[in-house]
Symmetry: C2
Subunit: 395 residues, 2 copies
Amino acid sequence: MNFEFHNPTRLIFGAGTLSRLGEVARKHGRKALIVTGGGSVKRNGTFDRAVASLKAAGIAFAECDGVEPNPRIATVRRGAWIAREEGCDVIIALGGGSTMDASKVMAAAFYYDGDPWDMIYHGQPDPHIPTRTLPIITVPTLAATGSEMNMEAVISNEETKEKSFVQAEGLYPRAALVDPELTMSVPKNQTAYGVCDLITHVTEGYFNGVDGTPIQDRFAEGVILTAMEWGPRAIADGNDLEARTQVQWASIVALNGWANAGTNGGYPVHMIEHTLSAYHDITHAAGLAVVNPFWMRFAAGHRAEKFVQFAERIFGLKAKGPKDLDCALQGIDRFEAFLKSIGCPTRLSELNIDDTLIMRYAQDTLRIIHDENGNLPGRPPMSKEDIVRVLQAAL
Amino acid sequence: MNFEFHNPTRLIFGAGTLSRLGEVARKHGRKALIVTGGGSVKRNGTFDRAVASLKAAGIAFAECDGVEPNPRIATVRRGAWIAREEGCDVIIALGGGSTMDASKVMAAAFYYDGDPWDMIYHGQPDPHIPTRTLPIITVPTLAATGSEMNMEAVISNEETKEKSFVQAEGLYPRAALVDPELTMSVPKNQTAYGVCDLITHVTEGYFNGVDGTPIQDRFAEGVILTAMEWGPRAIADGNDLEARTQVQWASIVALNGWANAGTNGGYPVHMIEHTLSAYHDITHAAGLAVVNPFWMRFAAGHRAEKFVQFAERIFGLKAKGPKDLDCALQGIDRFEAFLKSIGCPTRLSELNIDDTLIMRYAQDTLRIIHDENGNLPGRPPMSKEDIVRVLQAAL
């Protein structure tokens, strides 16, 4: 374990905190660009309550609405343009992961004269790392991505069919105002996808990270166990505020660095899924639900131990030994069954994806990211054939 | 769960990181006050290596040595005076918890014209909350306190026999440079006390916090399980770098807010122990080792459930039901036995403390902190008689 950790985002957590938006925003600016998604925040009154809080604090605002589920670089360009035209000095992301991710890159694009796509890592030799950004305040309306308290964003390029990420310290929101009440109107399927999303965030670091991280393992397991306990309750009754609270807290700590500090893992499942959702307009976490168990089965064949630990600690199975592959595979089957039980797809066919483009998914994934041997980083690194094999199994 | 969390300290973790001290310090100042404790860093070469790194980066320095195990306000005054006289613009704490705590308050006292004791909470109506501090860099040489990555400090007043704390955002170190190699020379008993210290940090929030914090529970349990697994290895072989690394990482996450965000718990065991070590020059964690199990037995009688969970998840015991007090008490006995097994005292007599001043310990504890009913905050709140009873049992 040799690592740096720094997360300066101020988290303001709890039911009812939306009313503090104006007070928080005033610390960072005078005119906000409010970024929103498909319009649910307008229909359910969240937008009006946010605006009322801003007005009471004397904060003016402009709007950028219509961020897509897989946010597009064109939308980022549009938002940055509005922020400049309107003279905004703070960005408020009011929505789900895509709204927050787009807002982060808008905040960086505000100060960048080139094309914001330069900042998104897509295999180019010299990506532009943003160093200066408008202050960002995140107000998540969905428990899933963890974007509210981290320095990552994922953006799609609809022209090149690429979907990839940017990571930079400047992308840390100044404040994350997290009000679980805002997630009560999220429908069952999106709630389930959020649970899958957050679990996949921790399984990536858990299975792909370095050896010898016992605390991070326990933290990751704690997030998974909590999500598996409270997720189904939030899905069963969207108005269960306690369940919404625990799921949202799980989604934050799944990806704010606490559970994977120093693990230094790759994100192979995410990278494969990103290619799928670059070609098909599927929900990110629906893609993860299909790919993750099949990736696990592939990886367990190379290194059963960690999957045995997963089977024992998450599902209470008893292994015959530390390398008991049967036990490892049973744990993965149980995990897949859990995803199915909460309503997630577990085969590509359920997403209307067939094998026509399967070679291209593998090629594109590797074009975006590969190690010095041309493989997808992770444990184990994956060749093009490995990716194809995993996807084929998942058809 | 309704809370704010903010921890902006940049953690630089790993064997060998001491060599980066100069590079890190340069981001914050040009002349450092290096604060040290009893001199072990000079004897074992750590001080010289730190100075070499500073010199290579062009950082001048002054020194404040001799911080006591229970750091005194007089030492804080002296350090702040040196920093002013020498024109220092950054403080480097090179030592254990007492050195780091004293350094934090020196950094605040640098900008405060009154007596720094005003900043330490001791029941005064209007404590001075420090808002401006010199930048602080912590370089722990002991795994115990977690002070390297939090905003707390505990200081003693040798004249009034008071020992208490200050908490302020300005006390967050700018950087924590954590090099587990520096702890390899820590003797067995101090290593054991460190393990006890870090475990007690999480048990306080775990047992005294609000209900409904399943993730924080799992995180706390993860820290305890890891400390119980790796602590004995670090004690058995001080040169086991892997064990030193895991124990140090555990000590950081035990008190940097990750394991107890939103739990909003009291610290009754700490408050009682502080009074003991204000009267008797005992190691803080040696006092905790005695008080904590007896406090647990007292608290379990009021609310067995959490202690049953502790017994089941930490020691693998099987309860007959969620309120099985026998199981709870068995878990506490096992915990006490663990502390004894690593060489911690478990009775006050081992610390040469008898019942002569027992009423005064209780009174002083309550003078420093009490709720609106005059009780020590915690679950349950403790009356003077409760404190006396716990200490009497621990004789």
